[in-house]
């Protein structure tokens, strides 16, 4: 019986199929590890994979008025701030995708990206 493809053709086709699958990965893959992104004056200054933090540590943010950020396993917060209302510190520990805290006078924002996403978690919060 005649066959349509030779062995080499099949290998080539399988290669193309794998290539297709690889190209689809970025589209359908999960959101990655839970990552804290710190913006200072609109620019990213720190990107921290919170799932890989084993011991907590602090970071000083340079913009005035100064603040300190505490990074821990799966969480991040403004620990101290020299701004008047300290709303950034009051925002508390950020632990979920989309959680945000900001220090308006200092022009800094901390956002959590990645992490688990399902129908029950918001992509954005109106307030």
């Amino acid at each position: 019986m005649k066959i349509l493809f030779k062995k080499a053709d099949i290998i080539l086709i399988l290669f193309f199929c794998l290539l297709c699958a690889a190209l689809l990965i970025p589209r359908y893959s999960g959101s990655g590890n839970m990552t804290a992104v710190i913006y200072e004056s609109g620019k990213i200054t720190h990107r921290i994979d919170l799932s890989k933090v084993s011991e907590s540590y602090t970071i000083k943010l340079a913009n005035a008025p100064a603040s300190t950020v505490e990074v821990e396993h799966n969480g991040i917060r403004y620990l101290t701030a020299s701004c008047p209302d300290k709303l950034c510190v009051k925002a508390g520990l950020l632990t979920h995708r989309g959680d945000t805290a900001a220090c308006l006078p200092q022009k800094t924002v901390i956002v959590i990206e990645g992490g688990s996403k399902d129908e029950k978690t918001p992509d954005v919060i109106t307030y």
Binding site: L4, V37, G92, H96, T100, A101, A102, P122, D123, I125
Partner: protein
Amino acid sequence: MGDDALRASRKPNNRTAAALICGAMAVLICFLAYDALANRQEFSQSDIAMGTVISQQLTGPDTEATADKIIGKIKEIEKDSLSWRIKGSEIYNINLHAGKAVKISAETAGWLKKSLEVCKNSGGALDITVGKLTALWGIGTESARLPKQAEIDGLLGGVGYEKVKIAGNDVKIADGQSLDMGSVGKGIACDEAFKILEAKKTKSAVISVGGSILLYGEKKEVNVGIRNPRGGENDYMGILSLKNCCVSTSGDYEKFIIVNGKKYHHILNPKTGYPSDSGLMSVTVVCQSGLLSDALSTACFVLGYEKSLPLLKEYNAEAVFITNSSSVYVTDGLAGKFKLSNTADYKLEATD
């Protein structure tokens, strides 16, 4: 037909079939590569403007430049047009020259006209001429205080949207009046972001201007959490599943002062000069325009649940109301799109 003839007729067929399959796969790979690259161009940015956090999540071509353009535009309209605090802005100049006509840009004149229309249609529940009262209370600033009744009475006479006159791009407010665009500014920013996203052919975007949200070009619905009025900053009480619209919320929790154990929030009732007390903790409005969703959320917060319904209908807008007794009312157009998450503290009420 002999064997040779059969072989000869099969060979080209085999080649044609193989060529067709390879061609189809090449097309598929090109499509997937394009699709993957287009989707991979995701960009997120957070910055501070208009005294609040601006967060952007964009997908499509040239997303970083688009996000930069949007934040640039928002800062520009704050500085050049809408801020009553920044010296030299158009609103600052109108307030400075109260009683005289001031020429402004067609863009700002358009925003003023639209805002004044909501002031009129809400019967003054929204009134952009409360600027002097806003400054007197100073809620959200370091100089926030509980004013004396005489101080409030002295400024109430200046409140009245109907005294604002617009002729072409000339705007005149009455003596003693002062404009405050705080109830529409974030929504205007969403509308301007929409124009840039359209021009830049952005695939999809979720833009939050201090909690006023623009959902753009999404194929799938986006989960918009409604802030829990009695929870923390990132705490939500329910989720709206929405796409291609604007969402704004007004609540009593965002900016306030506590004097002698009593809370005074920042949304003033233009008729009394005091923080609105219509029985609501918050109202979230959904419609097609940012300016309108922002303006209507303030108007509805002042009007209260029942009185807001005709106004929402007039603008083809929908809303979620949270009352002081933790009851949640959802208008018909959002039925099936809202899910209460915090069932321990809130109760979803049936609406007729």
